[in-house]
């Protein structure tokens, strides 16, 4: 019988026999794609140097993963796009004008020490790109806090240095910040479009939001972390950020400046290092927001998103352990036990 002849070629495996279309690589490359607008805006404002810095980060991240894995005779996983993403995020988190060795050092730390030494994608405790950046910021504090002025021409080679809005806010107050940008509306517009000093990819809120919308639409991220993160920052900025006492702060400035939008949508939501249960994600977001504002208002650094996310990364497994998703049939069980 024809059927018998076929039988020995049949694949035997466990159920389910059909699978969804999502793969890790597909998710990662989509996230990479969603960062494209922010990347374009960074080149627009900070010139070809921005592309060079980001490109170098990506290149060294991918290369270091490949070299590490092949030299240990493991399968190279650069195809899944996560090393590319780490490089890209690190690049977008660097100031525009850094010496060439900074992206390389940062990428190697991010990929080799933060990710691969812990066992590779899925086992890392901290967000690799953020550890890379934290390492650089602490190691080269001066080089990592030189901010270029945006030029909006795609060409700037050596721009003037200036302070970030949060730096001005911390050192000289809101009045001075508004004075620099003209008036309040100009300030908001500049923050929204990205015409301000800051890390390469963090400046343009609008470009980041376009990318975030893609991720939200595809369901790769949910509203829980970004919303709770940003809302906490907003509320705390409004409550404690004003000079005239409680509840006089300007939440919009705190939300739009610094790396909040980039961090909340693209880095706090990193699957591996955030809680996987939705309720836990809200706690995680609130924690990130609260630590961010504590650092911004009371700490030594003008910006706190990076350290906030890294600190909350530590708590992610704990949150996952403490928070349980609503279990089917659990309510009845408890009632019966009480009887």
């Amino acid at each position: 019988m024809a059927t018998e002849a076929k039988a020995h070629e049949l694949i035997v495996s466990v159920s389910p026999h059909v699978r969804g279309q999502e793969t890790v690589a597909r998710i990662m490359w989509t996230v990479n794609l969603s960062l494209l607008p922010a990347f374009i805006m960074s080149v627009y404002y900070f010139g070809p140097l921005a592309a060079f810095v980001t490109g170098l980060c990506i290149l060294s991240a991918v290369l270091s993963e490949h070299i590490y894995q092949t030299s240990l005779k493991k399968k190279s996983t650069i195809g899944d796009g996560s090393a590319f993403l780490t490089g890209l995020l690190l690049g977008l988190n660097l100031p525009p004008s850094v010496p060439f060795y900074i992206p390389i050092v940062g990428s190697v730390i991010a990929i080799v020490i933060t990710k691969l030494l812990f066992g590779g994608l899925g086992y890392n405790v901290f967000n690799p790109a953020l550890i890379g950046r934290a390492f650089l910021l602490i190691s080269f504090p001066k080089l990592m806090t030189i901010w270029s002025e945006p030029t909006a021409q795609f060409v700037a080679m050596d721009a003037k240095t200036t302070a970030t809005p949060l730096g001005v806010l911390k050192e000289e107050g809101l009045a001075k910040l508004i004075e620099i940008f003209g008036d309040k509306t100009d300030l908001y517009m500049s923050l929204l479009m990205g015409s301000r000093a800051g890390s390469l990819g963090e400046t343009s809120a609008i470009a980041l939001l376009i990318g975030a919308a893609l991720l939200l639409y595809r369901g790769y991220i949910t509203w829980h972390i970004p919303f709770s993160f940003i809302a906490t920052v907003g509320v705390m900025a409004w409550a404690f950020g004003g000079q005239a006492g409680l509840f006089t702060g300007d939440p919009l400035i705190h939300i739009l400046s610094g790396g909040l939008i980039l961090g909340a949508f693209f880095m706090a939501t990193d699957y591996v290092t955030c809680p996987s249960i939705r309720k836990g994600q809200i706690i995680f977001g609130i924690g990130c927001g609260a630590i961010t504002m504590m650092i911004r208002l009371k700490g030594g650094f003008p910006e706190g998103v990076m350290f906030a996310i890294l600190l909350m990364n530590c708590f992610a497994p704990l949150i996952d352990r403490g928070v349980k998703s609503k279990k089917f049939g659990a309510v009845k069980e408890q009632k019966e036990q009480k009887k």
Binding site: V105, I113, L117, F135, I138, S139, F140, P141, L143
Partner: protein, 208 residues
């Protein structure tokens, strides 16, 4: 620890490599991170530990038949605290510049798990001379670990060794901060474990 009695040289070697306090036993890590941002400090604390460890082991071994087992812990505590106080006073008097930098950590030697552990595990059960060798080995092992860690941290973090400039350029500042201490200890621990597995069959005692 093997049950076979070890020769005195083996005891010292064991303390230095096989059961190295920091890299193999992973105890007394706080000082290894706090003090190792410069070789000067690291070496000074290491030498103090060699002294305290050896003396404590000897003293405890001497008294081991006299001490009632129920109160051995407070007695060990007193012995350790006594030696630490003595070394603390001596340093404060005759080595003031170093004392200013690491005086705080000298007093912390009282709470070192490694010293207490050796008094309890080894010295309270063995003869004076072998206890001394064990203490010496453990102390030297700790000293070596401090030297290795502080070597990398000072070189990478400041570009100097014992304060003398070695390399120019902007150093990795993080290495002399506490975070860099964790990084250095972790990576070195991994490195020594790898060496152990690669060349010595992954057994506890490497015995170089």
């Amino acid at each position: 620890m093997s049950l076979k009695p070890k020769s005195n040289w083996e005891l010292i070697k064991n303390g230095m490599f096989g059961e190295n306090t920091i890299f193999r036993m992973a105890i007394s890590l706080c000082p290894s991170i706090a003090v190792t941002n410069g070789m000067k400090n690291g070496v000074a604390l290491g030498i103090s530990v060699v002294f305290v460890q050896t003396m404590v082991n000897m003293t405890v071994s001497l008294m081991r038949k006299f001490i009632h087992p129920k109160i051995r812990i407070p007695i060990f505590m007193l012995v350790i605290a006594g030696y630490v106080t003595i070394i603390d006073l001596l340093m404060a008097t005759y080595a003031r510049p170093i004392y200013k930098e690491i005086g705080l950590y000298i007093q912390i030697i009282v709470a070192f798990a490694s010293i207490f552990a050796r008094a309890e595990v080894y010295a309270s059960k063995n003869k004076v001379f072998s206890s001394m060798c064990d203490g010496l080995g453990m102390g030297i092992g700790f000293l070596l670990a401090m030297v290795v860690i502080s070597f990398f941290r000072e070189l990478l973090g400041k570009g100097t060794l014992f304060g003398y400039p070695i390399v120019s350029g902007s150093p990795l500042l993080i290495m002399i901060l506490p975070a860099g201490g964790f990084l250095a200890v972790g990576l070195l621990m991994g490195f020594f474990n790898w060496i152990d597995m690669r060349f010595f069959g992954g057994k506890g005692a490497s015995g170089v």
